[in-house]
């Protein structure tokens, strides 16, 4: 697949899109882990939800 004289532009575009999409996925995954961690800590310190369910329950 020959990308012509402007190959670097094409590759950079695709690389940037991949990078930003990857960053979004990683950010969302890390945020998920952080929130679960905080919920676990709160549960361990004795707070009870109004419904009585587990704090970390999805």
């Amino acid at each position: 697949m020959s990308l012509g004289p402007y190959a670097s532009f094409i590759v950079t575009s695709y690389a940037l899109v991949a990078a930003i999409v990857l960053m979004l996925i990683v950010w969302i995954a890390i945020d998920y882990r952080n929130q679960k961690e905080r919920l676990r800590e709160l549960e361990a310190s004795g707070v009870v939800r109004r419904s009585g369910r587990q704090a970390t329950e999805i």
């Binding site: 012509g4 004289p5 940037l16």
Partner: protein, 243 residues
């Protein structure tokens, strides 16, 4: 399960757990197919291989506007129907939409460089996307400026709807401004009607990116619901300790 069940955050969370793996899988498959089709697409008569940038620029540009539309519907849900998940949907969508808008700008600039010779040309379409990017950033700033989540949601909802109303006006004005100062029609992005060899990869990529947004959005909504649960538990803990 009816639509009203979705209004319950707990039911929504259990739904996300079931649905997310499938969405992620479908997104990956579509994007891989799209990438393969983009790679094997022929060269354009005028633009050569750089037409391949179109396959990622156009979906991001379309998504940047689509996400504002999703946020507008969520805004109506907040202001008119007071749907409990509308706030969550709106807040979760903003950073994702901003990211797609940023990508549309960057890929547009990189696409323009071989065609125009400069990285930025104040072309009507890219300029409108730049203004849209500023509006996304302003909206995200407003979300973070107000402490109380439901007040922030209502302020953001008003701004989202005002923005939605203004977007066609801005697009029209920028088009007008552009033709005023650049009477010679420069090589327009996207060219004239698309050949089938380009249209199919473009549609597949557009669909793939749209599914990507839906996947990311639902995952982000799940995080936002958990974040609110943390906040209410922290407040309960604080009031228990004070008592």
């Amino acid at each position: 399960m009816t639509l009203i069940d979705l209004a319950n955050p707990t039911k929504f969370l259990s739904l996300t757990a079931r649905v997310l793996p499938w969405l992620a899988g479908a997104t990956t498959i579509l994007l891989l197919i799209g990438l393969y089709q983009a790679a094997t697409a022929p060269d354009d008569y005028q633009q050569g291989a750089t037409v391949k940038i179109m396959f990622i620029h156009v979906p991001n540009a379309w998504l940047s506007m689509f996400v504002w539309g999703v946020m507008s519907i969520a805004a109506l849900g907040t202001l008119v129907w007071r749907h409990p998940l509308a706030d969550v949907a709106a807040k979760a969508a903003a950073p994702i939409g901003a990211a797609f808008t940023f990508l549309a700008l960057v890929t547009g600039s990189l696409w323009g460089r071989p065609m125009w010779g400069t990285y930025w040309e104040w072309d009507a379409r890219l300029t409108s996307v730049l203004i849209l990017f500023l509006m996304y950033l302003g909206l995200m700033a407003l979300w973070r400026a107000v402490d109380d989540p439901s007040r922030a949601a209502r302020a953001a909802a008003v701004l989202t709807l005002v923005g939605a109303l203004n977007l066609p006006i801005i697009k029209f004005s920028v088009d007008w401004w552009n033709t005023l100062h650049q009477p010679a029609a420069v090589l327009r992005m996207g060219g004239t009607s698309l050949d089938k060899a380009f249209l199919i990869p473009l549609l597949v990529m557009a669909l793939g990116f749209s599914l990507l947004f839906v996947t990311l959005h639902i995952a982000a909504m799940r995080n936002e619901i958990l974040r609110r649960r943390v906040r209410s538990l922290q407040m309960m803990q604080a009031s228990q300790q004070a008592a």
